[in-house]
């Protein structure tokens, strides 16, 4: 009797272990199948990309794998960048945002200087540049500058490093040096039409009925309550500017980003702009304080094929330096607005 019970138990154990083993093997093979799934290629004009796509570039599975650089964009030297030094995407090189913009207006540097800076980073016209950084606006700023200069394929990691680590991808801590290039491959800027000067803006505001100067600033900046910056005393907007929304202050872009740091899509942009004083058919020039925040809507529209877009790089910073320029203080949409000149503005509106 005991022998029969023992035999039955043994048979039962064997059957259970065989089935369990098969199930685990199936699960494993399913998981492997998931890893083997090829990440789809993306269009050259596509800007915001996933961590998985970047990983597939690193792994040599994309056409871009042949010639690419990954750049961690933040202001200052690599040694002073905590975002780079605490762990970065394997192979990434630090790029200083100051390499593409500078004084006196914090506008893009001269074409020669930008070209030199790009070559030092190993960036040429046909190099795929993959950017990421802790500051969504700063990263977008570099992406915009490279597009203006003429890089064909510029990508931004959507969601930054958080998205990368959330996807379970590895980081490295060893600092990487750039491999400088010698020839950019075109005359910089290849796309001068992406950049409009303060003179162009004044002319277009007066003469072009389809032109809209779109302020990508917080509402408090737009209606003249504050300049938003400790280094700008005057508050207001260029006369004729319309509000394109932004975030709570110059350093946050809640309207253009999700909580996880990813950028909004074109559909979400259309929803955001459903009650604004311009349409997607207008000739749109974005601006903000000094050109960082305004780069975000530019990139979203760029990747969706819009060509009626540009950046007024000087922003409010450059505008408020000329006492003769016309200004609006308040929101024209509400009717509560005062039109004056820069010279008449008070000097007590700097952010505390």
């Amino acid at each position: 009797m005991k022998k029969r019970i023992f035999a039955l138990l043994l048979a039962f154990t064997l059957i259970v272990s065989v089935f369990t083993g098969c199930k685990q093997a199936e699960e494993k093979s399913e998981a492997n199948a998931g890893n083997d799934t090829k990440v789809e290629a993306v269009d050259v004009k596509k800007v915001f990309v996933t961590p998985e796509w970047i990983k597939s570039v690193i792994d040599g599975e994309q056409p871009e794998s042949k010639k690419y650089v990954i750049l961690e964009a933040s202001w200052g030297a690599a040694a002073d960048s905590p975002d780079y030094n605490t762990g970065h995407i394997p192979g990434a090189v630090h790029v200083d945002i100051a390499s593409i913009e500078g004084e006196p207006y914090w506008n893009l540097k001269s074409p020669e200087e930008v070209e030199k800076a790009m070559l030092e980073m190993g960036v040429t016209k046909d190099t795929t540049v993959i950017l990421y950084g802790a500051d969504v606006s700063g990263t977008a700023r570099v992406a915009y500058a490279y597009l203006w200069a003429g890089v064909d394929n510029v990508k931004v990691l959507d969601g930054g490093l958080n998205a990368w680590t959330k996807a379970g991808l590895e980081l490295e801590k060893t600092a990487n040096a750039a491999s400088p290039a010698t020839e950019f491959g075109a005359k910089v800027p290849v796309h001068p039409e992406y950049w409009v000067s303060i003179d162009d803006v004044q002319k277009k505001l007066n003469e072009d009925s389809n032109f809209r100067l779109v302020s990508i600033r917080s509402y408090k900046e737009f209606n003249g309550e504050t300049s938003g910056y400790s280094y700008i005393d005057k508050a207001g907007e260029p006369k004729g500017a319309v509000w394109g929304k932004a975030g709570s202050d110059p350093y946050h872009m809640e309207d253009y980003t999700h909580e996880d740091g990813t950028y909004i899509t074109m559909d979400e942009l259309k929803e955001l702009w459903k009650d604004v004083e311009f349409t997607l058919d207008n000739d749109l020039a974005f601006y903000c304080g000094t050109g960082w925040r305004a780069s975000i809507p530019f990139l979203i529209m760029y990747e969706n094929g819009y060509t009626n877009i540009s950046m007024y790089d000087g922003g409010w910073f450059q505008w408020q330096m000329n006492n003769d320029l016309p200004v609006q203080v308040g929101d024209p949409k509400t009717g509560n607005v005062v039109y004056t000149t820069v010279g008449e503005l008070s000097n007590d509106k700097a952010a505390k």
Partner: protein
């Protein structure tokens, strides 16, 4: 009475020393954050422009240099007039000369193009130099009453 005066001399030395260290830390912080924080750099550029409009910078610079020279000469004279010299006297005087020399060098050979925090740094260094000279004076005064 003399002991009390010595005590006040010591307190004065201590206060000058603390303030001097704070001024040097302030200079270091201004230099560090101007180099590493974009907002700080832009604020410095803004302050530079504002001060250049408000103040006759060149005149202020030469006045500051004159004050530093005058103070360091007074300190040297104080040391040379001392009949009995101790090692500590020489050490304090040398430190005073070194800090003053450092300030003079910075004021003369740097500018806002080389260092955007030049004005703030100059202010901190001149303050540190004045305090070091005050410390030197207190140190010698306290000793002379012994």
């Amino acid at each position: 009475m003399i002991r009390l005066q010595n005590k006040s001399g010591l307190i004065c030395m201590f206060v000058c020393g603390i303030l001097e260290v704070m001024a040097i830390i302030g200079a270091y912080a201004a230099n560090y954050f101007t180099r590493t924080r974009l907002g700080m750099l832009r604020h410095m550029v803004y302050l530079n422009g504002k001060w250049e409009k408000m103040l006759p910078i060149a005149t202020v610079k030469w006045i500051a240099l004159f004050i530093v020279f005058a103070l360091v000469i007074i300190s040297c004279l104080q040391y040379s007039k001392r009949k009995r010299r101790f090692k500590a006297d020489a050490a304090v005087t040398l430190l005073t000369i070194a800090i003053s020399g450092w300030t003079v060098y910075f004021l003369l050979f740097y500018n806002t193009e080389m260092n955007r925090a030049y004005y703030i740094l100059s202010l901190c260094l001149v303050l540190a130099t004045v305090l070091q000279n005050a410390l030197h004076y207190c140190f010698f005064s306290a000793q002379s009453r012994n």
